[in-house]
Symmetry: C2
Subunit: 346 residues, 2 copies
């Protein structure tokens, strides 16, 4: 194995994207790789990628930016990058050795030579599904945890609304809110997802936003006394309707604005006057600022998983060939739960 | 005087307003009033109004609301209400006696019978201009103080941007920022105002937003490293440009959105994605939540005024007849500094 030259299937970004991404913006191609870290590559390690994570923020990296932002654009002609779970095949890094399982920012390809260990965590707990490290035990889990508990300040009895509520982050926020003793309502884009919210994740109420002609009225129905915490994943018309239904001193942790990512001109929020009249705090956050809390999060979440007190639904696609359509599916809401791609089983 | 029936000039709202207010939405009429608190009116007091305050938020009270908000609509056919400085002529309230000077929410009329003392403060310090209690020593002063120091958390060296910077609140925020050791830039809508910002209030830089074709570029010029604190008074296109120029972990205390108050459909903020990528906290506030700090504020501000370390520019109009056009002028930026109306000198 080690030292052998093998073929390496890769998902390449062909060009920068405007509007909704299409499968034809990406291509699957085969290159070769030697399964050994080069002699002169200190602190490098070579990974076999097992599970790849499809996350909404990735859309931003497919756009050519004219000013710097928090993540670089993808490189045209290079593999797409994203979070994944991988096995170390060879290592010149002191923290990782062959056979280790890790999660972090890897390539959309079968094998990746990693030259910066910055984002990688060694996986210590393997008595849970390994794929969970793309979701509940990875970046989306930390996002839900940081956004709900650190950016928000939830109290028992708070009325919480979550959009994109069955997604990788939303399903956790809803369950965290229930564990905190909150009243929780979620919105999603299909009957199946709405059913899942109530039956699987324990949301008090849920609705299909696509079937509501008047989102303001829908929120008024579920929150006659208003919303204390809105966990914002979508933006656009939903945000405007929420602003009309917030309570005094409400909080809006802003995690994502997925409805806006593919628009050349975002729709815009028109009801910001409510920020003043209701003294609302709206705060954007990035999970990258909170990874120091990861050990604390694992301490909380692992027992909950093992005791069956928290559920996590994944939408699993097999094979790198299917990764582009899985990623694109996020922006049409085709995924039910956390979207991931299985590249290899071990 | 006391007990005498006199004529009482009043500014009445004729109908609810849509779009920009016009002088013809109001009328000046004369009624009569007896200068004595009626026997059965416990805790009431009768005021002679001296100075009336024109404040942007008043526009909201001229609109018919279909749902409750933080202040009631004005009553059609009744005098407009607003902050003012007044002299007590007669009182059945234990805290106020004839001859006292007070500031609080009074009527746009020569004499007002006050039945709720809620918003009134007795004026203890009269070695400063009395009109200051409509501005630097009244609601706008407390607004600047609470918004800058309590909602924001300014530090020495912070880069601060203030819109509507020569207005009743903005001129103070800029001076508070300078006292804190910040770099401060203000925007305003005329050359005179811009000159005032630099020459009188000590802003480091100032610009006329009406002369900038590209607000984003203008802000980039004054804040090559980005804005730490944006004190938001205007909304609309300025907010969108600011969002593009905020620094990581920047703060936006939202005090007002005057550019939007007369629009039937607000323009909307399109660049909210910056909230996430730059981890921005945007927080609306109302001064009403901070009046418990008024004694602390007076303790800070009175010496600064007396020592000449802070300036306050007022735009003074004489006579109730001219109050409607003064109020409307706010929404066209006709005022230079705090707009107030002198009804009587004592």
């Amino acid at each position: 194995m080690a030292g052998e030259e093998v073929s390496n299937k890769q998902v390449i970004l062909k060009h920068y994207v405007v509007g909704f991404p299409k499968e034809s913006d990406m291509e699957v191609k085969i290159s070769n790789i030697t399964l050994k870290v080069p002699q002169d590559c200190n602190n490098c390690f070579l990974l076999k990628n097992l599970h790849l994570s499809c996350d909404p923020y990735m859309r931003g990296r497919m756009t050519k930016h004219d000013r710097p932002t928090y993540v670089d654009c993808f490189k045209i002609g290079s593999p797409i990058m994203g979070f994944g779970v991988s096995k170390v095949l060879d290592s010149r890094h002191p923290n990782f050795k062959a056979g280790d399982l890790v999660w972090g920012m890897t390539g959309w390809e079968e094998y990746s030579l990693i030259t910066s260990s910055q984002s990688f965590y060694k996986i210590e707990h393997t008595d849970v599904p390994l794929s969970y490290y793309t979701g509940i035990l990875g970046m989306p889990g930390m996002t839900a945890y940081a956004g709900f508990y650190e950016v928000g300040s939830p109290k028992k009895g708070d009325r919480v609304f979550v959009s994109a509520a069955s997604g990788a982050v939303g399903q956790l926020v809803g369950q965290f809110a229930k564990l905190t003793g909150c009243y929780v309502v979620g919105s999603a884009g299909s009957k199946d997802k709405v059913d899942l919210l109530k039956s699987k994740f324990g949301f008090d109420e849920a609705f299909n936003y696509k079937e509501e002609e008047d989102l303001d009225a829908a929120l008024g129905r579920y929150f006659p006394e208003g919303i204390d915490i809105y966990f914002e994943n979508v933006g656009g018309k939903m945000l405007d309707a929420v602003l009309m239904n917030m309570r005094l001193h409400g909080q809006i942790p802003v995690c994502g604005l997925i409805s806006q990512y593919n628009l050349e001109q975002p729709e815009g929020a028109h009801n910001l006057l409510n920020l003043i009249t209701k003294r609302i705090r709206m705060e954007g956050f990035l999970v990258t600022d909170y990874y120091h809390l990861y050990p604390k999060y694992l301490e909380m979440i692992l027992p909950l998983i093992k005791e069956g007190k928290i559920s996590y639904v994944e939408d699993v696609v097999e094979g790198l060939e299917n990764a582009p359509s899985a990623l694109i599916g996020l922006y049409y809401g085709r995924n039910v739960g956390k979207q991931l791609v299985v590249v290899a089983r071990d």
